[in-house]
Structures are given as C-alpha cells and as structure tokens.
C-alpha cells in the first residue's frame, strides 16, 4: 500500500483529480490537499488562546451577512446545485459560525479538529482531515458507482459525490470521514483536503491549507 505522498518540497499543496463528467458540469470544482507529519493530540495553550481570540471576532451581524460573502456564497450555490439545502445542511463555514453563536465561543476539540476549524473560519474554504496512511495514491472527486462503500462505513448511494482515492470512496463530499481514512488515535500523518467550488480562487484554497498545516505543525 502506498499512502499519500508527503507534500512537495516547497510545502505546496497537491492538486487532486476531478472526474471528467463533473469537471465539465462544474467548472471550478477541485480538490487540493497537503500532508502534515502529525497526528491527533491536545491543542496547546497558544492554540486555545487563538480560538478564544477568534471567538471575539465573530458575532451575530457577521453571521447574518456571511452568506453574501464570496466564498460562503459559492458553497451555498454549489450545495443547491447538487441538491443539498444549505439552510438544512450547513456549509462548513456557516456550520462553524453557527456553532460559535450557539456555544458562545469556539471550543477546542483537539489539534486536528482545531486546525481545520481555524482554516475554515479564517478563509471560509471547506476543509476535511484524513489519515494520510489509510488512503492510497491520489485523492480526487468523483461520483460513487453502484455497490461502493465508504471504506467500511456503509454503502454509498450511486451518483453521490465523494472524495476518493485509488482504492475507492473515502468520504462523502463535505462530510467527515467515518471509515477508512478517518483520523484516529493511531494516525501519524494527516492529510488536510480542501474542496474548491465555483469562483473560489486557488489562492484562498492554498491559504486555508497553509493555515491549517501551520497550526498543526506548531502544535
């Protein structure tokens, strides 16, 4: 088994594949990822401080205007275009902001979860964390074919958009991995993947990945 290769020597992210039929229907759809040589753990004090600082920057007014900003808007549009009601299943950035409002602040859930949260909150780009040693070859976005399962987490319906590697689907798009690829206590290397949609720039995607990787590396 050849797990995900480390990120390039300059620390840049790797571009994943997008199935041809999806690429033609959804221009701008893309997947990028970076690998960090870290596993889960408790977030250091500085990171928890950073979460508290971030909590103070987000309030009700920002939440109201969020959906009109370029990046959150792009995800809402894409959600609708693939049949997801973004007012029922929140986009990643809206879910982050909503949790901040409901809980009164960002709560530390561990190094990897906090790194992903910070990357999402700072840029709005959708991020997901995977166990880099449990995925093989290259990651990308495609439609599930009949009979596929999510690496032991149950069957996935035909046509559902998934993040997949050379072995098959790893997780549904915009969901956390629950089977193969799920981050666990045994994870030693973490792949952080960013889903790019619509008019979201590659620069925003790179920034999100860089922020999350930097937070993890410093932890």
């Amino acid at each position: 088994m050849s797990p995900l290769a480390p990120t390039g020597p300059d620390g840049s992210e790797t571009q994943g594949f997008v199935a041809a039929e999806l690429a033609s229907e959804f221009p701008g759809l893309g997947l990028s990822w970076t690998v960090v040589e870290r596993g889960p753990g408790r977030s250091p004090r500085e990171l928890r401080e950073r979460l508290r600082y971030m909590s103070n920057r987000i309030g009700g007014r920002q939440a109201i205007e969020l959906r009109n900003q370029e990046v959150p808007h792009a995800y809402r549009v894409f959600f609708r275009q693939i049949g997801i009601d973004p007012d029922e299943t929140r986009t990643p950035i809206e879910a982050v902001v909503l949790s901040r409002l409901q809980q009164g602040g960002f709560r530390s859930r561990g190094l990897i979860e906090d790194a992903v949260l910070i990357g999402v909150a700072e840029t709005g780009v959708a991020l997901t964390a995977l166990d880099a040693d449990q995925v093989e070859g290259s990651l990308g976005i495609r439609s599930a074919i009949p009979g596929e399962d999510l690496g032991g987490a149950g069957l996935v319906e035909e046509g559902v958009l998934v993040i997949a590697d050379d072995l098959g689907p790893v997780t549904k798009l915009f969901e956390e991995a629950a089977g193969r690829g799920q981050v666990s206590k045994k994870t030693r290397r973490t792949a952080i993947a960013a889903v790019q949609v619509g008019a979201i720039s590659q620069m925003s995607v790179s920034e999100a990945l860089w922020i999350a990787a930097e937070v993890m590396a410093a932890g």
Partner: protein, 164 residues
C-alpha cells in the same frame, strides 16, 4: 406559404446531449443568481423574525449531480421562496409604517393611547427599545390624566448559557 423547416434532435444524439448540458448550465446559473438574491433578501429582512426564505424542493437524493428536471425543481422552489419572502417583507413594511405613525401619535398625545406599547421589533429595528404610554407618578398620574411616553432602551443583562 412558407414552411418552416424543423430539425428534430433525437434523444441520445450528440446534439441532444449538448442541448441538455447547456440547459443544465443555464439552470445552475439561474440558481446562483437566485441564491444571491435570496441572500440579499435575508440580510435586509433582519432583524424581523418569522420570514420564511427556505426553498424546499421535492425530496431528492442529495449530494450528487442533478438532472434537468431536478435542477428545475430547485430553481422553481427558490423562485417560490423569493416571491413569498418578498410578499411577507412588504407586508411587514406596511405594518411597521403603521407602528411608526403610532409612535408619533403617542408622543403627540400620550393620553389618547393609554398603556399602548410599541417595540423596536414592531418597527423592524434591532435592539430592545420600546415606547410605552404610562401615567406620570403611577396612580396619581392615572387619576389626574397625566400621561407620558416612556422610552426604554435597556436590553436584558446577558447571562451565560447553560453548559457553555
């Protein structure tokens, strides 16, 4: 008499596939524009509550590439939500105009509007401010017909949420 020539596109042909793809692309553009409009309406309706802006297409398996009919459903549900939202917002605006007029009349003649109360929510504004026509000095004022409009603006003190 001229006869218009009609080119029939057969389902399954390349032309049909291209037509459908162009139609899907156009529907997705429409969905994007409608989402932007719904977003602006959502922002402008704040802080009013109870204005339903959710587009609810007929149940479909989510998270996949939708076909033409499904994209049309999504678009139509968004159009419906937009129309309903705009109508409700317009209705609220009319009500709020009436309440603003009531505030003016209360301030002009508090005694004619005894115990009446108008809040910021009634006029579509955020915050806890309200106007209340009350007698000066309690029972004495009520008996003597001394009425005034008391403007209160204090919000309830914030308390920690349970479990936060």
């Amino acid at each position: 008499m001229t006869t218009a020539l009609r080119t029939r596109v057969h389902p399954g042909s390349v032309e049909h596939a291209v037509d459908e793809r162009a139609a899907r692309r156009d529907l997705r553009r429409q969905i994007a524009r409608l989402e932007a409009t719904l977003g602006r309406l959502h922002s402008s309706s704040f802080p009013r509550q109870g204005i339903e802006l959710r587009a609810r297409p007929t149940a479909m398996a989510p998270g996949r590439m939708l076909d033409l009919a499904e994209l049309e459903q999504v678009r139509d549900s968004m159009i419906g939500a937009l129309a309903a939202g705009r109508a409700e917002l317009e209705r609220r605006h009319l009500l709020e105009a009436d309440f603003r007029e009531l505030i003016t009349e209360m301030e002009r003649d508090p005694a004619a509007h005894k115990w009446e109360r108008v809040s910021n929510l009634d006029i579509g504004e955020p915050g806890c401010k309200h106007w209340h026509s009350r007698p000066r000095w309690g029972i004495l004022g009520a008996l003597m017909g001394w009425w005034r409009v008391k403007v209160s603006s204090g919000c309830p003190l914030a308390t920690a949420q349970a479990g936060a």
